[in-house]
Amino acid sequence: MAPILDIKNLKKNYGSTEILKDINVSIEPGDFLVLVGPSGCGKSTLLNCIAGLEPITGGSISIAGQDMTEVSPKDRNIAMVFQSYALYPTMSVAKNITFGMKVRGVDQATQDKKLQEVAAQLQIEQLLNRRPGQLSGGQRQRVAMGRALVRDPALFLFDEPLSNLDAKLRVEMRTEIKKLHQNLNASMVYVTHDQIEAMTLATKIVVMKGGVIQQIGSPAEIYNRPANLFVADFMGSPAMNLIPAKTRANGGATEIVIDRPAAEPLVLKDTQNANLPADVILGLRPEDIAEAGYRSGDNVQTADCMVEMVEPAGADTYVVSHLGGKQVTARLHAETTATPGAALPMAFDLSKVSYFAPETGARLN
């Protein structure tokens, strides 16, 4: 199938500042693409470029197989939901939703029919005569969605649509958006700086930093095989443990040596990765460090570690210890007997390990 959105070598400057550098992304019909990255990395700018609201400095954008680089927003066959919702303050909810159709000269009967459909879908029928000022944040959010849904476009664009909602509502709406995506089988580009939102919604994630794409991949790829230190640190909560280590070859395996305060260095033996440089940064997610006996596998190594802190979190208990000059968090089962100040045998699942080059941050394995 032809890609629904194809961005090639896109560049965007404001004056002489480069905001977006050589962006290449394409998505298939039905994809839910999430753009994620820290504040100011250019996510909104990229979305505005896709929408045609910002002129681009170089490259090309095509939507549904058509070159849209020079096309104005209204002819791009897109709909957009903005971070501030951007509802028209003097119009009723119904007028807000139908404004686009009215501008395009859609006949009244079709307008009414579509309005009713969308209102039913989003359960905002009883709000149609209100002004945006008379709505709660969550209701405004729905209206903003309604304004986009009624368009039935080739591509939906969302700019942090949930960031103004409180935590509970955000989780609810997240589920609803996901349902909506499945029901409509629509193609979406969704901006967020919330990595959990990115993981739960996306079929494909683009991680950005400073106007440069760091990695493109499925949520699992991004989570399990981050392309560099930035992605490793940014995605996942609590963040991946990134521990400076030395390596030395030992037969077919690699020995990983990690400094510890006031103790012998911790030595782990990785049987799956060879030919590593002498200095690496070892990345291991908290859930890949378990209490000894609770994890088995080919590449699981057990070692005693000094526990510094125990943080019960209901379903799991997080245990913090000190390795390689870094705090290392392990996610243990809730009933663990770990106590601060005591040693605990822990299992390191090296089948999930990532190695990064300390200088470049690039992934090594």
């Binding site: 927003p73 501030s84 951007a86 028209y88 303050p89």
Partner: protein, 296 residues
């Protein structure tokens, strides 16, 4: 604001209350000071000439008479004609109403463009317009006279409308621009995605939001244009003079006895429309000056 002062007064001691009263008395004195001339004008206009000559300036009229008002409206002499202020009043209306409407509408559009459709050089153009606000009237008199002559508008009411529109544009643009910059850019973006163009966005989204600032602008412009004397006296001729010029002529051209009561009545008539505008729209004026951001 009010809440705060109330609690302050309550929580403070006696000295606070005393201070407050001193403040009120001072304010009262100032108010009296400002209102005194109006009081004198009003009472004098309702007295007969005899009473003015014999009575005290601040005394209330013994016999209230509206003769002076009648004369001022339709009988007082401005030079050789003796038709009162009436024809000039309508001249002023014919000048002020279109000039206010046109300058407000153009100011709204300019403000909309400068605030929301940032183009290259938008800031420079806006600065130049702002600069236009500060050019003294006297400086533009000669060039304007030449321009009006070239346009064939010299001495006509459309000519005066033109002058006031041009001179008011800087202010109206400033007012609307400052109001519109508080409206989030995303609103325009949303409308663009919805397919609306430049004028559609202006009519459907910005104008309906603008009532407070329209009121401010209309009051400002109306007061300026109605009270203008210099342009009126410079660019009019017999028959197209605005009321301010006629008032001056009535007061200055009376031969023989000076009819203070007629002068006062005429002055009040000339001031009445601006007063009326304030009374009708005053509360929006304050609201408009403080209003701004459009949340949701």
């Amino acid at each position: 604001m009010t809440d705060m002062t109330v609690t302050n007064a309550r929580s403070g001691g006696l000295s606070k209350i005393a201070l407050r009263w001193i403040l009120y008395i001072l304010l009262g004195i100032f108010a009296l000071y400002y209102l005194m001339p109006l009081f004198v004008m009003l009472t004098t206009s309702l007295k007969s000439l005899d009473e003015i000559r014999t009575g005290s300036l601040v005394a209330l009229p013994r016999d209230v008479t509206f003769d002076a008002w009648r004369t001022a409206w339709s009988g007082a002499c401005t030079g050789i004609q003796c038709e009162g202020l009436q024809p000039y009043f309508w001249n002023s209306v014919l000048i002020a109403v279109p000039a206010v409407m046109i300058s407000t509408l153009l100011g709204a559009m300019n403000g909309y463009v400068v605030a929301q459709w940032r183009f290259k050089g938008a800031n420079i153009i806006f600065s130049l317009m702002l600069f236009g606000c500060f050019i003294p009237f006297q400086v533009v008199l000669l060039p304007m006279a030449t321009t009006l002559g070239k346009l064939g508008l010299a001495g006509t009411i459309p000519g005066l409308i033109f002058v006031h529109v041009v001179y008011g544009l800087g202010f109206t643009t400033l007012f609307f621009r400052n109001y519109y910059v508080t409206i989030p850019q995303e609103l325009v973006k949303a409308a663009k995605v919805d397919g609306a163009g430049f004028f559609r966005i202006f009519w459907s989204i910005f104008l309906p939001l603008s009532l407070p600032i329209i009121v401010v602008t209309v009051i400002w412009q109306f007061t300026q244009i109605w009270n203008d004397f210099l342009f009126g006296v410079s660019f009019s001729q017999a028959g197209t003079q605005p009321i301010t010029v006629a008032l001056n002529n009535i007061v200055n051209s009376t031969t023989g006895v000076k009819e203070y009561n007629v002068d006062m009545a005429a002055a009040i008539i000339a001031a009445l429309p601006t007063l009326l505008v304030y009374v009708v729209a005053g509360k929006y004026f304050i609201r408009g000056l403080t209003a701004g951001s459009v949340k949701g």
